[in-house]
Symmetry: C2
Subunit: 330 residues, 2 copies
DNA sequence: TTGAAAGCGCTAACAC
DNA sequence: GTGTTAGCGCTTTCAA
């Protein structure tokens, strides 16, 4: 099919292109008769407005860039779903970018985002990337950060107070006389882990104690499972807190291997879980982090930033978590 | 920061915009000196070419639309990663669209895709959507289908022969004298299930038998677990084949509940699994479906379609699977 | 080697 | 109500 433009439609309908444009954009100044002629022409020619040309003329693309870390779709999937659902409602398109480890990588993405002239960018990334954000704001691109509490003239954020979640959890255990608490760390997810550790530290400090239950594990399930199997032979804790359910599961399985009864001898909690947690035995107690909402609300905030005066919006939105006890805790 | 255009750069450098354009696009006819002047001006002004304007002028957007079903990122995540990695190499952007159930929904997406003038679209969807594909080809958009074997002037496909995978598996069991085989179905993933059933039918037919081991289950883990718990009280099979590991896990857990020994009394295989499978006990035997490769190869094929004469490319690419026995089979 | 100018397809003042 | 026209920012002939 030959490319059909607004001119072709105008010719076919015997009107000017301005009129066609009006019809496309639902202007109600067009007379019924002409409108119908135009619509028939559009139908007949199979005309679809060129969003690129519209973008050029209007200086906006109605697309949002979404930046997420590569690989972990298990956890970001729900965020994406939430974001896309809201984006659909407001007719925004989503350009997907994933970040890998390299620093150059991220600069390429920023460059790319600026060139593509998206109307805004939503970032879910564990690393804060202050500097990269600055180049984005320099180009006046509105930003929404998922998972971190930050804000600025052009930056909003939607997050869950994980630090406090862990604080409350640890406090409960400390008050129950259980003091041997460890937090699992891996090299990824640095920011989340930092928050978790801060929460624990705070709780310990409240009790006049010092926290140092760091448990550094490898990045993959298999290796961390092996690691834990060794580790648990001569260590045990009252409570182990993991970031992801997969890490918690590694602990659970390793504990089984060592004949450690969960939850009686050792309890386990994770911060974020997936649908697979419900298939495990025991199921891991977790904080119900509202992933879908994180995505949906972020996109909603973005649409607001794009419509209203930025000053009038709530720039930092905290979503609530809910501790959900399951079989891995008493 | 004020919007800086190619004109500004031209002024700053004291050359015409044509020259700036040449420098941006790496034309080697520009003299060293001028080139440097231009580059300095670009640097000084922080100029980034407007991809939208380029798209208009060049009639191409260097972006590809990716269409996937909503929700199941657990399984599509790797596909996306593969696709993005290759897209990055060839400097293509990815526009992400997810399909939900409604039929109108999908038409909206197609409409949207056409308007956005992407250079091509990659579709991973269980429903074949012949008609929708037609409207896309009518507008000359190159298409790559993941998971289905289809091809056409403007359509390529990358897939795994699941029918044959199941055929071989079932044959093996039939030859071992095990004839009570069932395939789990849910309403989603219709096409994959059809292939699986066809494979089973073929195998049975080869042996002069008829296959009718359909096992219709609910869509969610919890409900299908409950269903299986009931079902297994008075049914048992030699082998149950599921599409997803989550479904297989529902069976495994329900079997445990009923004191059925897996794999001794009943064996279970799934077609696609996730990293969570390795955390389960027993681990489900599965076909190693190369998800990442499905994505990567699809994107690679797309780049070829975009560069070469479509006739010269291999339009149907079959990726191989590998049956991986684990603890759920003997 | 560089510049001038005609598009690419559309929107939005402005004029009629 | 409808048409005319000047952009939006870039690429690419065609001349010089």
């Amino acid at each position: 099919m030959k490319r059909v433009t607004i001119y072709d439609v105008a010719n076919e309908a015997g009107v000017s292109l301005a009129t066609v444009s009006r019809v496309i954009n639902g202007s109600n100044v067009v007379k019924g008769g002409t409108k119908q002629k135009v619509e028939e022409a559009i139908e007949k020619l199979g005309y679809k407005p060129n969003a690129i040309a519209q973008g050029l003329a209007l200086q906006k693309t109605t697309t949002i860039a979404l930046v997420i870390p590569e690989a972990s779709f298990t956890y970001t999937g729900q965020i994406i779903n939430g974001l896309l659902d809201v984006a659909k409602i407001y007719k925004y398109n989503i350009m997907l970018h994933t970040t890998t480890e390299g620093i150059n990588e991220i600069n390429d993405i920023i460059e790319n985002i600026i060139k593509s002239r998206v109307d805004g960018v939503v970032i879910y990334n564990d690393k804060l990337m202050r500097e990269e954000l600055n180049t984005l704001t320099k180009y006046n691109v509105p930003i929404v950060i998922i998972g971190n509490k930050v804000s600025d003239a052009k930056i909003s954020s939607v997050y869950v107070d994980i630090e406090n979640a862990v604080y409350e959890l640890v406090m409960k255990y400390l008050e129950g006389g259980k003091r041997d608490i460890a937090i699992i760390q891996d090299r990824k997810n640095g920011y989340s882990i930092d928050q978790m550790i801060n929460g624990a530290k705070k709780a310990y400090a409240t009790k006049g104690l010092e926290f140092n239950g760091y448990l550094e594990i490898p990045g993959q399930y298999r290796t961390s499972y092996d690691f834990m199997k060794d580790y648990l032979q001569d260590h045990k804790h009252d409570l182990i807190i993991a970031n992801r359910d997969s890490q918690a599961i590694a602990v659970v399985n390793a504990a089984k291997e060592n004949g450690i009864d969960i939850p009686k001898e050792m309890e386990i909690v994770c911060v974020i879980d997936t649908k697979y947690n419900s298939m495990m035995r025991p199921q891991i107690s977790s904080f119900a982090i509202p992933s879908y909402d994180l995505g949906a609300v972020s996109m909603r905030v973005m649409t607001k930033m794009l419509q209203e005066n930025t000053d009038d919006i709530d720039k930092e939105i905290e979503l609530s978590y809910l501790f959900t006890p399951r079989q891995s805790t008493l």
